[in-house]
């Protein structure tokens, strides 16, 4: 009897204890499920403070700065497709496919470039759509500026895509199939399918965005760093000279260029907004990335830079994967031996390697997006095209003389429109070498991409009628977008 009582007593206590634990346990369970991320913010809070909104603006630049876009490799693809460089390693991860124009729809160059540019476009669209629904967090004037920056970056991304993935505008006045034109924020499962707009439509959108950007962007920022790493009015104008030039709309190039190159004789300099002018060529690529010549560049810092094959400084210089084609612009008389632009070359065992981006790891050289020198060359070409040969000649002389004062152009190089245009295009190849212009300069004139090669690696010529004159649409897009 005693033992039963004892058992019973203990049983009661334990039962109460356990029951108590169970109740506490059960009661506290379900809300355990409401976990919240500690290292990301959710969409609802992304526009809560002025700092976060500014952060999102910077986020769009950051996506433009992806390794496969203006982080540098976009420049690499455009340069090596042309005839200036000889590939050494036949490595498809360092643009070998671009170099010999043998890319397929699944090539990493193709897939990654497309994806990087559209990420930038979506981030711009997210900001534009998001700001439309945000009230009171930032002043309207700031909002206008941010939307203008987003449109500028969207336009630049579309331009980078349309010149690579679509037939040149000049082939048929933009009638060919262009790109899926994404103009609204995409964060859901909907809208996978979107047909391609025509090349002309894409250009219209780019120009419209840039006009809006010009209107909404500030004239300048408070520091030279911001003037170089964020878009301002003159940046939109400068980009328009590039876009119109590509369209063959030379009078518009002239009209835009005049806004930031108001002079007709040297020295040329912008008089409104950021006071752009030419600077020492070596300085702007080695010691001061934020002079008034750099209209827009991608900044690099120790905590935001690329390594290895993601960095073009590694590919060109550190790992010596491309050298200058002796039969390319390297051998042109117009590029004299005293030209300071020859300082961007490095001689090793008879081959010249490219070191415009020369800093060793960490690769902190800024990557140029738009320079004032390009605007002058765009202007020169358009002026020559519309018959203003004098202006064109003085513009190109200004660009050349900046790097080589001892050089003087032969009259025959400047005295006819054809010769002058030829000289200007050559000057572009010297001045903008390694900045992502060469293949597009061939394409917009519908010229073949010349053959090139060494004793061991050869890349055949590509005719404008060839399929691989442009990049194919990426396989990833083809398999998901049914309306292409």
């Amino acid at each position: 009897m005693k033992s039963i009582n004892k058992y019973y007593k203990n049983f009661r206590i334990s039962q109460l204890l356990i029951a108590g634990l169970l109740v506490v346990g059960l009661g506290s369970c379900d809300n355990l499920l409401d976990t919240v991320p500690q290292t990301s913010i959710s969409a609802e809070n992304a526009f809560d403070t002025p700092a976060r909104i500014l952060g999102q603006v910077n986020g769009i630049y950051k996506s433009l700065k992806k390794a496969d876009l203006y982080g540098g490799r976009y420049l690499l693809f455009q340069d090596v497709r042309g005839e200036e460089f000889i590939n050494v390693t036949a490595n498809s991860y360092t643009a070998y496919n671009s170099w010999n124009n043998s890319y397929a729809s699944g090539s990493s160059d193709v897939v990654n470039l497309w994806s990087a540019a559209y990420t930038t476009i979506n981030n711009a669209n997210i900001l534009i759509d998001g700001l439309a629904n945000v009230n009171g967090v930032i002043p309207d004037s700031v909002k206008t500026q941010y939307v203008a920056e987003a449109k500028f970056l969207r336009a630049l991304s579309y331009f980078s895509l349309v010149t690579v993935f679509a037939r040149p505008y000049n082939q048929d006045g933009g009638a060919s199939a262009g790109l899926p034109l994404r103009l609204q924020a995409e964060t859901s499962l909907a809208n996978n399918d979107l047909a391609r707009s025509s090349v002309a439509k894409v250009y219209d959108q780019i120009i419209s965005d840039l006009n809006d950007a010009e209107a909404g962007l500030p004239k300048s920022y408070s520091t030279s760093l911001l003037n170089t790493t964020r878009a301002h009015k003159n940046a939109a104008i400068a980009l328009k000279t590039r876009v119109y030039l590509n369209k063959g709309d030379y009078s518009s190039v002239v009209a835009e260029a005049q806004k930031i190159v108001p002079q007709i004789v040297a020295p040329f300099a912008a008089t409104t907004g950021v006071k752009h002018k030419l600077q020492d060529i070596v300085t702007i690529f080695s010691s001061d990335y934020t002079t008034t010549e750099s209209i827009l560049s991608m900044p690099m810092s120790t905590n935001d830079s690329y390594t290895g094959q993601s960095s073009i400084a590694y590919i060109y210089n550190d790992n010596s994967e491309y050298y200058l084609n002796p039969t390319g612009i390297f051998g042109e008389a117009q590029w004299g031996s005293t030209d300071s632009r020859r300082q961007f070359l490095r001689l090793v065992s008879g081959k010249y390697y490219f070191k415009k981006y020369a800093k060793p790891s960490p690769y902190l050289d800024y990557i140029p997006v738009i320079r004032y020198a390009e605007v002058l060359l765009n202007y020169a070409e358009a002026a020559a095209q519309v018959g203003n040969l004098t202006l064109a000649a003085s513009l190109i002389k200004a660009v050349h003389a900046r790097s080589d004062q001892s050089f003087s152009f032969a009259n025959s190089a400047l005295d006819t429109q054809a010769a002058l245009l030829n000289t200007i295009l050559k000057e572009r190849r010297i001045e903008l070498l390694g900045e992502g212009f060469r293949s597009n300069d061939l394409l917009r004139y519908l010229q073949p991409i010349p053959a090139k090669g060494s004793s061991s690696l050869q890349a055949p010529a590509v005719q404008p009628t060839d399929e691989n004159y442009i990049f194919p649409l990426p396989s990833t897009e083809v398999s998901t977008n049914k309306l292409l």
Partner: protein, 1060 residues
């Protein structure tokens, strides 16, 4: 003395004593004796003895003694005890008989661990398999999951490569998801533990299951059908592995020491060209290229690029790179365990040390650990149970290019060993590494440039390690509330701390030379606690047996990973993160939480052990799902009929042939909660830097409708025993319909969504198949036994619906440029995908491809100006073969697989042979593409069959320098997809147990010596290293891809086991 004599005479399996007696009663003879555990000599309490062919029987008492009255001698005693092998003993004389029983974990009338509790196998109506630790004793494994190959029907285990401690690919009844993990839930002594690779580098593998010492495992139960797994509800979609660790037994203390030493070598390495052949072949392709481009007379285009180099003595250099990348790996294991107990307390203590070296240079695994298992009965109503284990495991490897996402790394040693030119030296004459000014592989006299590395310098200048400190422990109590009602509650922790270190030197020849070295230290904490409480009710009402269970469980995972990378060493001296570095930045940061809250119940009912019914219901909450969709309801029903218990069956003649027949069937619904993101339903913005200023951008597009992925599984089975119960067989049909598949639904890249995917519940598929298991005791004599087992599984997987109007899912290997697999409605998950080929054109030696229209298109890597690389067979220009021409090449996952084993015992010798087999699938042998690549790569000797003359029929196209397309090196071609059927002798093991009499005086109760060979041979038509190789590890959508990785080694192991 007499016992010792007999031990020596008859060995340990069968032991009986026969003594004559002076006192014999004609009517009532008493047979007496004791039943003891064969190893420990501990009395076995409650063992059952029956008389064969006559009435009567008894049960042993607490001292293991028994006594039986029989009419005449001889008689045959049928001896059985739970946990021991059944024996028949012939007794000729009425003298005390000592019967030794051997432990057995693999018997039908055993208990099955069914999740939260156990059930008698006889009453079990689901599908489960049990694997005992005996089956992987001394195996050269790091973790127990590597040893399950071929052991259980329905379970397919493949070892994807030969890097130590990489997680095997486990598929229980097929691929059970597309985006979520198909890895089973692993529960160790009731604790669901962390699985998956926890290494942060693609060089070194770290399977956290290696933190469980295989020698501590008593048994592994594999739950396969929904009726068994649904008690684990959302966690169980890919099956459940229940691990039970060893426990002490009442009686004398048992001490056991195990030692083994093993030697591992690489096998089936491809035969490569020697130096001369290499130069001949490469120069032939250079010349072909020159001629084909119309440069035959152009002196600026080279005719030869490859030239010999000499050794110091002037002889031609011929480097065998295998010698520098592979080695004989020597491994040793030590294990000590002490177990024992009394009526109220039992304990098991163990310590282990393992030092394993792989056959890849620099690949090491070390483990040291201790375990303490304790059970104690406090009083009549309270039982306590505690487990605690601490393990330190250390993994080190060089990058072999074999682990997921490392296929194309320039530092992958497996590929380096294949492709580096044999006519260049590893070292310079002065003993320094042969590297270029940029630190890459030196080229000797070859006029080419390599972007690859010298493996010797790489190995010397890099170090990748991943080290775990792990504590798994639990304390539980079982309280008897009433004679039929028990409450048990268990709190457990699984705390895993991993330190990952990657160091790359700043020296020339290191892969981090350009960044002046780097050191990355990453610390990862995976902290997981679980609290479960269960109420158990069990009562018999006459012939009605009822048991019920209700419980709840909360489990929380907290993952915190942080680290930093230092670059730009201030001096080459520094080899640690703590040294002097110019730049430091954070790396690998990750922080997340995940919680499961579950309520579950089970009801078991049977009538007279004839009609069986089990019902499971579980409600699970998962924090990773969308608000309002976090909870899901799961459950299963199963029924069984022990047909052979029916009187009509017993009286029918067939019962003499087939003694036991059980029919069982089940249906259940389970979920898959292994989401790849702990916050998959949310749109998330991540912060980073733009230059030096803060930036925000979308990092994850979420899905507010994200809900449970569920499987509905149906199972029908029959269990038989026949030939006097010497053969046991089971046949099971299963049909598993998986619905609401969570897909990383591919989004058009033009939408610009991060990763181009959003998690969504769209898609469904099924796995259907049949499993057959056979166990037979073929010969069971005193001195000789032969047992055999066989299992076979056939499974068919087919995708029936996918997101976005059944849009294909194309999957990649390592980079988005390598599209190897496709998941398409109407086909198995992750089918091989690539360009179809149709041999080599005998006219010109060009590879023939089939384009999307079915037309034949031929390719030449070099053509004259104005010609096209791609032409139709009539020579007219054709569009290039691109992704849009890719087609399904074949199924990549085995459709049939299994294993069979034979165990022999003759006197003191035992021999076992275990085979595994698998097939019905293709493997994309991408390594063949590498081996035939026409860059400077060395080639396999297969290249000697290349096309050279018009009309020649061959499989190897004409050699053209830099050709990466004809051979499938650049993108997958059907030419390289090979049948992966194989038969492997997984283990052959021979053991010898020393006779006891020799040992007893030394206080030793047993000594066993053994020798075994693992991966002894492989029969296959697959031309690559190993048909089980897979470079994408556990990924569901990219199976069957082999590219540039190392296969499995062959291991010889010698073992010693001493019992005290």
């Amino acid at each position: 003395m007499s016992t010792a004599f007999l031990v020596r005479r008859f060995g340990i399996l069968f032991l009986f004593a026969v003594f004559s007696t002076l006192c014999v009663s004609a009517q009532q003879i008493e047979v007496k004796g004791a039943i003891l555990d064969e190893g420990s000599r501990v009395p076995i309490i409650g063992a059952t003895l029956k008389l064969k062919g006559q009435q009567g029987g008894t049960v042993t008492d607490v001292k293991g003694n028994f006594s039986l009255k029989v009419r005449k001698l001889p008689v045959t005693l049928l001896v059985s005890a739970i946990g021991y092998k059944y024996q028949e003993i012939d007794v000729y004389e009425a003298e005390p008989t000592i019967i030794y029983l051997a432990e057995d974990y693999n018997k039908l009338n055993e208990v099955v661990v069914v999740g939260y509790t156990t059930q008698k196998k006889q009453d079990f109506t689901g599908s489960a398999s049990r694997i005992s630790s005996e089956e992987f004793k001394n195996a050269p494994i790091q973790s127990f999951d590597q040893a399950l190959s071929g052991k259980a029907s329905g379970v397919n285990i493949s070892i994807p490569n030969g890097v130590l401690n990489n997680a095997p690919v486990i598929r229980i009844r097929g691929v059970n998801s597309i985006s979520l993990s198909s890895y089973p839930l692993v529960v160790v002594d009731g604790i669901p533990i962390n699985t998956g690779d926890v290494s942060s580098s693609t060089s070194v593998a770290n399977n956290p299951l290696a933190d469980i010492n295989p020698a501590d495992i008593e048994s592994i139960d594999v739950l396969k059908d929904a009726a068994s797994t649904s008690i684990y509800g959302s966690r169980a979609a890919a099956g459940v592995l229940l691990i039970t660790t060893k426990k002490g037994k009442a009686g004398k203390t048992k001490v056991n020491y195990d030692f083994s030493i093993g030697f591992t070598n690489a096998v089936r390495l491809p035969k490569l060209l020697n130096s001369q052949h290499y130069m001949d072949i490469k120069n032939e392709s250079v010349l072909n290229s020159k001629n084909l481009t119309g440069n035959a007379n152009n002196t600026s285009v080279a005719s030869q690029l490859f030239f010999p180099s000499s050794n110091a003595d002037g002889s031609d250099l011929n480097t065998n790179w295998y010698d520098y990348v592979y080695r004989t790996g020597v491994s040793q294991n030590h294990g000590l365990s002490v177990s024992g107990g009394n009526k109220t307390t039992s304990y098991y203590l163990s310590a282990n040390y393992s030092d394993q070296k792989g056959f890849l240079v620099g690949n090491d695994f070390k483990r040291k650990g201790v375990r303490f298992n304790l059970e104690h009965e406090v009083n009549s109503w309270l039982k306590l149970k505690g487990n605690l284990s601490y393990t330190n495991s250390f993994n080190e490897a060089q990058n072999s290019g074999s682990l997921k996402n490392s296929t194309f790394l320039l530092i992958g040693a497996a590929r380096l060993a294949l492709i580096l030119p044999p006519n260049v030296a590893a070292y310079n004459a002065d003993g320094s590494y042969n590297v270029t000014a940029a630190g890459k592989m030196g080229n000797g006299n070859n006029k080419v440039v390599s972007s690859f590395y010298n493996p010797l310098a790489l190995f010397d200048y890099s170090r990748y390690t991943s080290e775990n400190d792990r504590i798994i422990g639990s304390l539980g109590a079982t309280i008897k509330l009433h004679k039929d009602l028990e409450l048990s509650t268990t709190y457990s922790i699984d705390r895993l701390k991993t330190e990952n270190i990657s160091f790359l030197s700043s020296a020339l020849g290191s892969s981090a030379y350009s960044s002046a070295g780097s050191a990355t230290n990453v610390s990862a904490l995976r902290d997981n606690w679980d609290w479960s409480s269960i109420l158990n009710y069990k009562r018999d009402f006459g012939s009605h047996h009822l048991s019920a269970l209700a419980g709840y469980e909360v489990q929380k995972f907290y993952n915190s990973i942080w680290g930093a990378t230092a670059t730009n060493a201030t001096d080459v001296f520094f080899e640690n993160y703590q040294g002097g570095w110019g730049l430091v930045s954070s790396s690998n940061n990750y922080l997340s939480e995940k919680v499961y809250v579950s309520y579950f119940s089970r009801l078991n009912y049977d009538f007279n052990s004839r009609y069986l019914l089990t019902i499971n219901v579980r409600r699970d909450g998962n924090s990773a799902l969308a608000a309002g969709k976090k909870f899901g309801n799961f459950g299963g029903v199963s029924g069984g009929w022990n047909l052979s218990e029916e009187d009509f069956y017993k009286s029918s003649p067939i019962s003499r042939l087939i003694s036991t027949v059980k029919l069982r069937s089940s249906w259940g619904k389970v979920g898959n909660g292994n989401l790849p993101s702990d916050y998959g339903s949310l749109n998330l913005y991540n912060s980073s830097l733009y230059g030096n200023v803060a930036s925000w951008s979308i990092g994850q597009a979420g899905n507010t409708d994200l809900a449970w992925e569920t499987s509905e599984q149906t199972n029908f089975g029959v269990d038989f025993e026949f030939w006097k119960k010497r053969v046991q067989a089971e046949v099971t049909y299963f049909n598993n319909n998986i619905n609401g598949l969570i897909l990383e639904s591919p989004q058009s890249p033009s939408k610009g969504i991060p990763g181009n995917t959003i998690l969504a519940n769209v898609g469904s598929m099924y796995n259907r198949g049949i499993e057959i298991g056979l166990n037979a005791k073929l010969i069971s004599k005193k001195n000789f036994t032969w047992t055999a087992s066989f299992n076979y599984t056939h499974v068919k997987n087919e995708v029936t619906a996918l997101a976005g109007g059944n849009a294909d899912i194309i999957s990649y290997t390592h980079t988005s440029a390598e599209t190897d697999n496709i998941t398409r409605v109407g086909y198995p998950v992750g089918s091989l995908y690539g360009a179809k080929t149709a041999g080599v054109n005998p006219e010109n030696g060009r590879r023939i491809f089939i384009n999307a229209k079915g037309e034949k298109v031929q390719y030449s890597a070099a053509v004259a100006a104005g010609e096209s690389n791609w032409t139709y067979l009539d020579g007219t220009k054709a569009p290039a073969i691109s992704t849009s021409d890719y087609q399904i090449i074949g199924n990549a996952t085995p459709t049939w697989y299994g294993g069979f084993g034979n165990n022999f015992r003759y006197k003191n010798f035992d021999l076992s042979l275990n085979f595994t087999y698998s097939g019905g699938n293709l493997v994309m042998n991408g390594t063949r593409g590498t081996l035939l690549d026409q860059r400077f790569y060395n080639n396999s000797t297969e290249i000697l069959n290349r096309w050279t003359t018009v009309g020649q029929v061959t499989t190897i196209p004409r050699l053209v320098y830099n050709d990466q397309i004809s051979n499938g090196s650049s993108f997958p071609i059907s030419e390289n997809a090979e049948n992966a059927d194989f038969l492997r002798l997984q283990t052959i093991a021979l053991g010898y147990t020393l006779p006891g009499s020799l040992l007893k005086r030394q206080g030793i109760s047993s000594i066993r010596l053994s020798a075994q060979v693992n991966n002894a041979f492989l029969l296959t038509n697959y031309s690559g290293t190993d048909p089980e190789s897979s470079v994408n590890g556990n990924s569901n959508t990219t199976p069957g891809i082999e590219k540039n990785s190392v296969g499995q080694g062959r291991t010889f192991t010698f073992g010693l086991n001493v019992g005290f």
